[in-house]
């Protein structure tokens, strides 16, 4: 054992607590002093952007809004930029909630969307909440009216002009899963893409992202954004700066801290090995 005097500061406080402190510092400092570093757009993000950009006018797009409040900060940037983009293009949007928190969160995001000449019921419809599960996703693919009878304002679906010709997966040119915390994208692939060949787009949280890469490769998912980083990329593509671009500095700082910690850990280990020899 080393004597007290020889112990480094890290050993005195305990390496765990020292690391906790560093994490706090790396988060708070860039929050106060921002630099505003640029972001590089990845292939998956631009794929999704391009796909939406190239959809013919009046295409129907289904959005499963699955944002759980807890995980939402990760998907917020992409979701907001995505909604801005989707509503900017002349697309018909049918959105339903797959999370009980959805209505509250969506309300916050729609404030940033320029509605312009859009009319509710004619080119966009918001359906109420239905518990997310593979079964409901599957049921919705064949008969939306079997799941929803009214929209979120209580209007029967048959009285909504947009819904006249829409009742199943094949009526849509794209199905977007927004901000889901795991599962929904895969259900969409299995229940909408495989049986009905509807392309899937995903504004994912980054924990789900690597698991979805195989689906992107196979083409089932046309494109996707990677958490807050992808959100920043999408914001720069759409030209609507928001929480994504604001937080890129913190992302950089904390990631670099982790890299630094790993380097220090390995140097420590090498030193130990050498002294053992």
């Amino acid at each position: 054992m080393e004597s007290d005097a020889k112990m480094s500061i890290i050993q005195k406080i305990g390496y765990r607590k020292m690391i906790y402190l560093l994490v706090l510092v790396a988060t708070i400092v860039p929050m106060i002093y921002t630099v505003g570093l640029p972001v590089v757009v990845s292939k998956q993000t631009s794929d999704l952007y391009e796909f939406i950009e190239k959809l013919p006018p009046n295409s129907n797009v289904a959005i499963a809004f699955a944002a759980y409040a807890g995980m939402y900060p990760d998907a917020q940037a992409a979701t907001r930029a995505g909604l801005v983009h989707l509503f900017r293009r002349p697309l018909n949007i049918v959105l339903w909630h797959n999370s009980p928190d959805g209505p509250m969160l969506l309300g916050g995001e729609l404030k940033y969307v320029k509605m312009g000449s859009r009319i509710y019921g004619k080119d966009h419809v918001i359906l109420p909440y239905v518990a997310a599960s593979e079964a409901t996703t599957s049921a919705m693919g064949t008969n939306i009216r079997g799941v929803f009878s009214v929209d979120s304002f209580g209007t029967p679906l048959d009285q909504i002009p947009l819904m006249k010709n829409i009742n199943k997966a094949t009526d849509f040119s794209l199905h977007i899963v927004m901000a889901a915390a795991g599962g929904n994208e895969e259900w969409a692939v299995r229940q909408w893409n495989i049986p009905h060949r509807v392309p899937i787009g995903a504004f994912t949280i980054s924990i789900v992202y690597p698991a979805l890469i195989p689906y992107w490769r196979t083409g089932a998912i046309v494109g996707m954004t990677n958490g807050v980083r992808g959100g920043a990329e999408y914001e720069s593509l759409v030209g609507a700066p928001g929480p994504g671009l604001r937080r890129t500095d913190i992302l950089s700082a904390v990631h670099l801290l982790y890299v630094g910690l790993i380097v220090v850990a390995n140097m420590e280990m090498l030193k130990k090995k050498r002294s053992e020899k």
């Binding site: 690597p210 490769r217 904390v254 390995n266």
Partner: protein, 212 residues
């Protein structure tokens, strides 16, 4: 009668029925199977799960009350358990009488429940730092691979890295798109095989899953 009902085999029959409904609907389709599928997975599953939540909640409250009532329970612990029960009951009463859209209910939700979820969850950031400090050490060649792929992806995800060297972006993406993809694929194919094997064993009543 009750002996037959208590038998192990009868519930297995129910498992068979449910599995057959789902596979039947998936492979052969048809309206009858579709209806059975929806009834089973949407109506029945949700209702039974909801009642299970009630049963579970009562078990938690009962346990808390028992602990609070015990003589040897410390004062602090007694307070905490009573507090838990008190909050559960009061928020239930508020939710049922005033509704979840009432201002007091949404206040509790927005300022306590939601931030608590996020706060407990974000403890993970601290834990990840210590875990990676511990785990990403190149002790042997396997750990070295773990370390290198981890570092490359970290650098890829840090927005600043593209300003340092543009190659980080490509290398990190390659690790995710090729190495991670290949590993994920192998795991997926294997998992499917394992899942089918387990299904067979459950259907043969060779897995102890329903207790006595």
């Amino acid at each position: 009668m009750s002996n037959i009902l208590k038998s192990r085999e009868l519930p297995i029959v129910l498992i068979w029925i449910a599995v057959l409904i789902i596979f039947g609907d998936y492979f052969f389709g048809g309206t009858a199977l579709r209806t059975a599928f929806t009834v089973l997975t949407v109506d029945w599953a949700v209702i039974i799960t909801n009642i299970a939540i009630i049963v579970g909640a009562l078990a938690v409250l009962q346990r808390s009350l028992n602990i609070a009532r015990r003589e040897r329970t410390e004062k602090v612990e007694r307070f905490m358990q009573t507090w838990t029960v008190f909050l559960a009951v009061s928020i239930f009463v508020i939710g049922v009488t005033l509704g979840i859209r009432s201002s007091i209910y949404s206040w509790v939700y927005n300022y306590i429940l939601l931030p608590s979820w996020q706060t407990v969850y974000t403890l993970i950031i601290f834990f990840m730092a210590t875990a990676s400090y511990r785990a990403y050490r190149a002790n042997n060649s396997y750990a070295a691979v773990l370390l290198i792929s981890g570092l490359l992806v970290l650098m890829r995800n840090a927005p600043v890295s593209s300003s340092i060297w543009s190659g980080f972006q490509d290398l990190g993406s390659w690790v995710l798109d090729v190495v991670n993809l290949a590993g994920t694929r192998a795991i997926m194919i294997g998992a499917m095989i394992g899942a089918i094997s387990l299904l067979i064993k459950v259907l043969l009543a060779k897995e102890k899953i329903l207790g006595e």
